[in-house]
């Protein structure tokens, strides 16, 4: 599956986004600012996660007119979100020509049992995951990129850290198991044996692994990259901060120099106020976005 030309093109675009920052935007003006700050791609959505959290209601795919205007305005890749399981939203986004579709838990799920069968599409998909089993199920369905979910709109990095650490630890564990143990692990993880064996042999996911959900500062971006993320998605963290332009630039710099404390210090200076964060442990279960997706 990973060797088919179609799949190589899908993961190929994700390869080009590595070391970069994908920024959530809700209109063409924000998209332009994100591009000027050095975003490697933008994610078009109706409302940023912290507003979805505040305002409630049903969060759907963004307005076509706005996505189209964003595509016309910037020269970098444009991604858009579809609801979990909503394969017609996905077909519409594909027909529109977006460069990546995020089947996202940030929007209100359309199907509480099934994700989209992403194999029949020409456009690549990214999906969220909290652990290895979830990541491998999404890859089996055809996702060409995984992002750890974190807790979107919280401005709190703790969940993103938990998820990337969990996935990395579970992958390491597979590399020391024998063949018969992998069959058992496949059952435990709820993931196809073929993918479990691939991870055991290679010690990594067969698709690029990015991080999302709670990144609010340059230090947050560098933290998840040091833990193994290959690029970062930033949602509310930029446009809900005091000076979005400065913060966007600083997070771009941090994604490149994530191992260089002197550069991270430069990136962290004079940023203005970060977005207000939420204590995720005090959120009721029903308000968590990360538990959406199965």
């Amino acid at each position: 599956m990973f060797l088919s030309e179609e799949f190589r093109l899908k993961t190929g675009l994700a390869e080009m986004l590595k070391g970069g920052v994908i920024m959530d935007v809700t209109n063409a003006e924000q998209a332009k600012m994100a591009e000027a700050a050095g975003a490697c791609a933008v994610m078009a959505l109706e409302r940023v996660p912290s507003d979805i959290r505040k305002e409630g209601g049903v969060a759907r795919m963004a307005s076509i007119a706005i996505i189209r205007e964003i595509m016309k305005t910037v020269s970098i890749p444009v991604m858009a979100k579809a609801r979990i399981g909503h394969f017609t939203e996905a077909r519409i986004l594909e027909a529109l020509g977006v460069d990546y579709i995020d089947e996202s838990e940030v929007l209100t799920p359309a199907d509480e049992e099934h994700h989209i069968d992403k194999r029949g599409y020409k456009v690549p998909f990214v999906c969220g995951a909290r652990n290895l089993g979830e990541a491998l199920r999404r890859i089996a369905e055809g996702a060409a990129m995984i992002r750890t979910k974190g807790e979107a709109g919280s401005g709190n990095i703790v969940e993103a850290v938990r998820h990337i650490r969990t996935i990395v630890k579970e992958m390491k564990h597979l590399t020391v198991l024998g063949k018969e143990e992998l069959v058992h692990e496949s059952k435990n993880l709820g993931a196809p044996l073929e993918l479990v064996e691939w991870v055991a042999a290679n010690g990594r996911l067969p698709v690029p692994n990015f991080s999302a959900g709670g990144i609010a500062t340059p230090a947050d971006a560098a933290l998840v990259m040091q833990l193994g993320a290959e690029a970062v998605f930033v949602g509310s963290g930029i446009f809900k901060s005091e000076d979005p332009e400065k913060r966007a630039k600083a997070i771009v710099k941090a994604a490149t120099y994530y191992k260089d404390p002197a550069k991270l210090l430069e990136a962290s200076e004079e940023l203005g106020e970060a977005m207000r964060g939420l204590d995720v442990s005090k959120l009721p279960e029903s308000e968590l976005l990360q538990t959406r997706g199965w």
Binding site: L9, E15, M16, A37, A39, V98, T256
Partner: protein, 191 residues
């Protein structure tokens, strides 16, 4: 080429894939993020990725001038976004570039991601005796004009996709995503 080191500009993009491709072709590779790291390099590769992101960082981190000086004596190779950064002129939209090769490059010229493709390029006799080579195009640019002194090494659909001018070289496709090492091997021979 023995004992020579290739720097891979690692500001953003698929620099890790280039590092592996250099190693497959028998070279040593190091990542370059700051100007001082160029000192240990005998050549430089600018990878695929987003050219606008790399431009911002090149500028902000004062790397543009360092790479220009480096290129006065040492070879530089760019793939896709790297090709855009090495061109004399960039269109769609216009943006600044290093101008190391006299070519005009149009960004995203095939369209969007759904227009990305894998093609087989016919090679002429002069390159490893001819035959074919796989070429992965991802939101690729097209070279719309080549100036004097620029040699076309391979074309696709009538457009040059692999060109060189003296010690510098560009491809609009991504050989770092293919198993074939011809492009990287040719670059290593320039060191």
């Amino acid at each position: 080429m023995a004992g020579k080191t290739v720097g891979i500009l690692a500001l953003q993009g698929d620099f890790a894939a280039h590092r592996k491709a250099v190693q497959r072709a028998g070279g040593l590779a190091v990542e370059v993020r700051v100007a001082a790291e160029l000192a240990q390099c005998d050549g430089l590769i600018i990878p695929g990725g987003e050219s606008t992101t790399m431009l911002k960082l090149l500028d902000q981190e004062a790397l543009t001038e360092s790479i220009r000086l480096f290129a006065e004596h040492k070879p530089v190779y760019g793939s896709c976004a790297g090709a855009i950064l090495l061109a004399r002129e960039v269109t769609h939209p216009p943006q600044p570039a290093l101008g190391l090769l006299d070519i005009t490059v149009e960004r995203n010229a095939y369209g969007r991601q759904i227009d990305s493709r894998i093609a087989r390029l016919p090679l002429n006799e002069a390159i490893d005796g001819g035959g074919e080579m796989e070429a992965v195009f991802i939101r690729a640019p097209i070279i719309r004009r080549v100036g004097g002194g620029v040699t076309v090494l391979a074309s696709y659909g009538g457009d040059p996709v692999w060109v060189e001018a003296g010690r510098h070289m560009v491809t609009t496709f991504h050989p770092e995503l293919s198993a074939d090492s011809k492009v990287h091997a040719r670059f290593l021979r320039k060191l």
